[in-house]
Subunit: 401 residues, 4 copies
């Protein structure tokens, strides 16, 4: 699909560079790194990160001072879309979740010490991080329900709790953990805080990499179940102030959601490319390709239309965030979260159907996306929560009138 980019020429040129990088260097190693062993692929990936640095393409989301490209969110959005065409894209350029969220959070709210010790190597891709918020015993859609506690004793926090879906915990150097520090606060949204925990801490345990849709995963591609047992960290590891946990989580999750949406559009573009190529090459009879079937044409048209709509909404939201901040765009973010995740899953489903038996094998990348992006309608707030957020905002406008 053509790029309808209305931005400046320099972004256009950048996009082409990223596009070529993804096609030339990432597509060829996907089978090994995604369906094979991610750990075994680490040397290759490290080399590609060096190449990205050499080309001046590394960490595009960061400011120029921090080694990035100094782009606006809407400019980065276009790049993020291109990177999304491979599951390796964001990782190689060091703008992958959850690290990108942690970078944004620490950039704004971490102390200088924490920045020097943890943020800088994170920005340079020397270490990875994770984020421990979701708990197995509580619905993620109600973040107020948290069992993990951090009790301040002297100049330390003692953390106890059980978390899961701590993505990429395996191999990470530190996590940021959400824990209740003020359980008696009458305002439930002020009970929790965020604390940085280095993962070589003896009070921390990676229980397992949770098997997700058939993949146990490893290293970056993993989702950890973790435990904190009398886990002691310096009180100075607090991010921001005590009681800021939920406020920071909102700060972190808002942009996090739009990052997902941008990436999903890239996945859709990859799926559309695959479905078109398959439709053109696969013949029902000699000279009668799948592409001549009206059902296939309908699927391609519907996919292209809905992905185009998604891109425009995501970019409009990014521009709003650029201009007015993430808070002003809260409902816009909710809107794209449920709209684009739906488009994503429908597009993948159509791509698989066009591939027939091949579509359910791991011989294409579709199986990976179909399985691992089923979570898109669940993580960072299920569709139902975001629909309610949006509906209430709209209803409020009419209630006032």
């Amino acid at each position: 699909m053509e790029l309808n980019l209305q931005g400046k020429a320099n972004v256009q040129a950048l996009l082409l560079q990223y596009e070529n990088f993804v096609r030339d260097y990432l597509f060829p190693i996907e089978q090994d790194a995604i369906y094979g062993s991610f750990k075994n692929a680490l040397p290759k990936l490290k080399a590609l990160r060096s190449k990205a640095k050499e080309m001046g393409l590394f960490a595009p989301h960061l400011s120029k001072e921090d080694g990035g490209l100094g782009l606006s969110l809407s400019e980065f959005g276009r790049i993020s879309e291109v990177l999304g065409k491979s599951p390796l894209g964001h990782y190689v350029f060091n703008c992958q979740a959850p690290d990108i969220g942690n970078m944004e959070l620490m950039h704004q709210f971490a102390s200088k010490e924490l920045k020097d010790k943890y943020l800088k190597p994170l920005q340079q891709g020397e270490i990875r991080s994770c984020f421990a918020m979701t708990e197995p015993q509580h619905a993620g859609s109600n973040p107020v329900q948290l069992s993990t506690t951090a009790v301040k004793v002297g100049d330390e926090y003692i953390i106890n709790g059980h978390k899961w879906f701590t993505s990429s915990a395996d191999g990470a150097a530190f996590t940021i953990v959400m824990a209740v520090t003020d359980p008696e606060n009458p305002n439930p949204y002020q009970r929790a805080s965020m604390i940085l925990v280095p993962l070589d801490n003896p009070g921390y345990q990676l229980v397992r990499n949770i098997p997700i849709m058939g993949d146990v995963g490893e290293d970056y591609f993993s989702h950890g179940e973790v435990k904190f047992t009398d886990c002691r960290v310096p009180a100075s590891n607090l991010i921001g102030q005590e009681g800021w946990g939920f406020a920071l989580a909102q700060e972190r999750l808002g942009p996090g959601r739009i990052h997902h949406c941008m990436r999903w559009i890239g996945i859709c573009e990859r799926a559309i490319e695959l479905m078109c190529k398959r439709a053109l090459s696969r013949e029902l009879d000699p000279g009668n390709p799948l592409a001549a079937q009206q059902s296939v044409q309908n699927w391609i048209a519907e996919s292209v239309a809905s992905v185009k709509a998604s891109r425009l909404m995501v970019l409009a939201t990014a521009e709003k965030i650029d201009q007015e901040g993430a808070k002003a765009a809260k409902e816009d973010i909710s809107t794209i979260k449920f709209f684009v995740s739906d488009v994503l899953m429908k597009t993948l489903d159509k791509a698989i159907q066009i591939h027939g038996a091949l579509g359910i094998t791991d011989d294409t990348i579709l199986s990976f996306y179909y399985r691992h992006e089923r979570g898109a309608r669940i993580y960072d707030g299920p569709d139902e929560v975001h629909k309610t957020v949006l509906a209430k905002r709209i209803l409020k406008q009419y209630a006032a009138s």
Copy 2:
């Protein structure tokens, strides 16, 4: 729903004027003019047209020389959306189909004589016109199949044929008719021409206003079945040149489709307003409004999201037409044609369901839209044709690569 207009301040101000006009003057007379008698409402409508002229809001699509506002298509698009909130909107401001299409066509391709005699009073709202293309015996999705003929004899054309869905024929001063002038041309797309026929011609007959979804209709709100029997018009009534029929139809239909899309978005906004107000005011039990139901919230959110996506795609298409012309935007137009008409019907359906029994009565405007816009997925090319157009364009890109 808020206006996310990114345009200039003057367009913003204009929008507010149109919005107020529609609410203050058109909403109150809808019951009489739409569900009652349009003909009886003509004096009131004429008075409102005068008011619109006084306020400098009349015919916003026209150039300033022709008495309009000299707007770009994307600027006009925002206004068209606002006018779409009432079935009377475009009519009162004289930018209604099929007249707007005829104005565009004649502005570009009619002779000076025809312009003076027909286009000027049309632009000023003194007369109305119609467009006779569709034939009952041929699928509209294959415009090459035409039975109507125009034989040149001396300095006249003698036209014979049977048309239907000649919208607004009842009370129109003239029609533009598609007729085969060169049946032997090896290129079927060069066989037809467009000819202007004044409707006081004795060879013309309005057979009936076709009853559409329960409405026979009258005057502007009607769809005529018409016949041409040895209907003689001066050869100078030809629009453009002989054989240009299909080329001109494409010129005419492309922008025509985006005009529909803009209007549909206005209808969706009206439906969302009605569903929200109903959800807030209707109680299941005292203190328990429909708005508290999760299903209702889901419908509102899904409607708002898909309408927002529609607006962004329509405006992006309008901008492309402004910059590159309608031909370059052919697939974009096909995309919005099937995408927005689907959103339209789903939004109306949800609004009706939220209104319960009231929703199927003519006590709200929803019934009118639900019935008369069912055609949106059919007229100017059914969904299936536009999906194929888009799919083939996309497939072509990959076939080349």
Copy 3:
């Protein structure tokens, strides 16, 4: 579509007779009676009722003693489906709503006097009746909210209230009205009663026939807004006992819903027949019928499959009612109510799309069904209510375990 009837041979033979009657006598007069004037068609319809009586086909739902065919509900279901192929079917055979519901109710619960005076002529098709329950100010999905009152003074009830969607009130001889007789009863479900009101009563007023989807309607095909103002009727006009209103409404609505479902399947069969015939006869190019389009084939297949599923569920529900009574089948009835109404609207929508422009005209019966059956997802409980009824029943099974 073939009949998969597994019943006895005599029902098969009956079905064929009804099928032929509908095709031979009803299809030809639909344009006049449905889109023209129902009142003007009354003489013809009366003659057809006589013919039905002569053929021994009249009032198939009644017991043999009452002049009917003495069928089980599941046997009648197959006949009802055939009658549903024309909007005139049930009327001509005197098994139309709301009369059929009133017949069932009165047969079980009316006094001998009321039966002699009102039920007998109703069963014989000499008079029509209606049912006044829904009120404009209260959500139909919460039937406990009723404003209409009936105060017993001496041996009379004095009724005051405002109702709408009193279907077929225009021309009816009597109505059964739901009114609150015991407003202080702690159990809200025991506050109301059902009372028969002859419509020549001076305290009764037919305010208007509510315009529904473009049709004001008349006589049988109408939905009345009615008022009761100090409307006095003999206390002996009570149906059943005081306080039985809701219990009787449930008795009446349960079977009423399955009657609708049966009829809807007939409508679907008609729509499938129309879409197939249109697909075969309409050509895109010479020799290239719509039937060759894959989209059209998909729509036909999806329609046929879902209608077949609907029929099996409706018949299974009818058999359950035959064997265990309507109460035992409450959730089954809710299931078919929302399932079949959805299939109905989707099937009609596809049939219209296949007909193109013709599909939105009143030149086929599709427009009538599309407009008047939009209420199917609303009347007798909107989809959302029935889904909740079913879900709660299912959840209860697992809560117990």
Copy 4:
């Protein structure tokens, strides 16, 4: 969900026995056998097969002479549904695809020798088999395109070809292979034959177990890519006669499809059970379970309704096959193939959404079904093929009239 079984009491009793077996013995070992190693679980599974034999429940589909229960297809259908509640169900009772299809085929068409040598141990569960038809280079939806050849030389066939989706090849004792024996036959449907190949043959090679949706699989749970290279087998290994390949494939696939449909209904029942239990136990806030959410209620209701519809259609089809044979039910089988596979995937999707993050883990069985049943809309003919089969049959009825 209750069983609406209308069959005889003895089937009811049988169903309860199977239901208890599945719950008591299979649910507990699923984690190990499905997400762990199927090979390691073989001893346990073998013990369960012995238990099934002792209880007289083994191989319910077989005639009593062959050690089965002598059930009709519609009776077996109910049992198959119960077995479908676990991925291990059919395997343990030896009625799993592809073996069940091979048993049916060989029972009808294999020579006595082949029956004695291969069918008997297969029926007794001593060996497993597979079926090699699909080829990677040809669309499965056009079975006429086959590259694999079998050339008769003396009293042997020499087979060469490349197959994939030879399910359960890993560990199987023999395969039945489709190969072209008469490439010049003017009727393409008479070119191929079915030949039995023991898998210890040196000309046979299991290239790999194809990774499907993240699982390489092993033993019974695998899908093989296999090659035949100058693979010689006795000519007497022919099933039926030369040229019967496609006819036999139709014989084999028809019932095969209904077996899948029966199994899918069991999967849906399992998913509904899981979603209800989760909805009841998961709380958003204390005392506020997911089950109170209207969206969740909608999903449960929609799932239950569509699964009920599916069951009725599948059982009606089974009865038709019992009475009139598989050929007469060709379109019925196509109907349930696309209808039920759609219901299956939608039901699984809803169950996952209700489980939230847990739903995408391998901690429930939903992930297995979601991944491995995505093929349901593809294998044994993609939806699109079956829709066309059905539509053409329906259209034919109207073309004739």
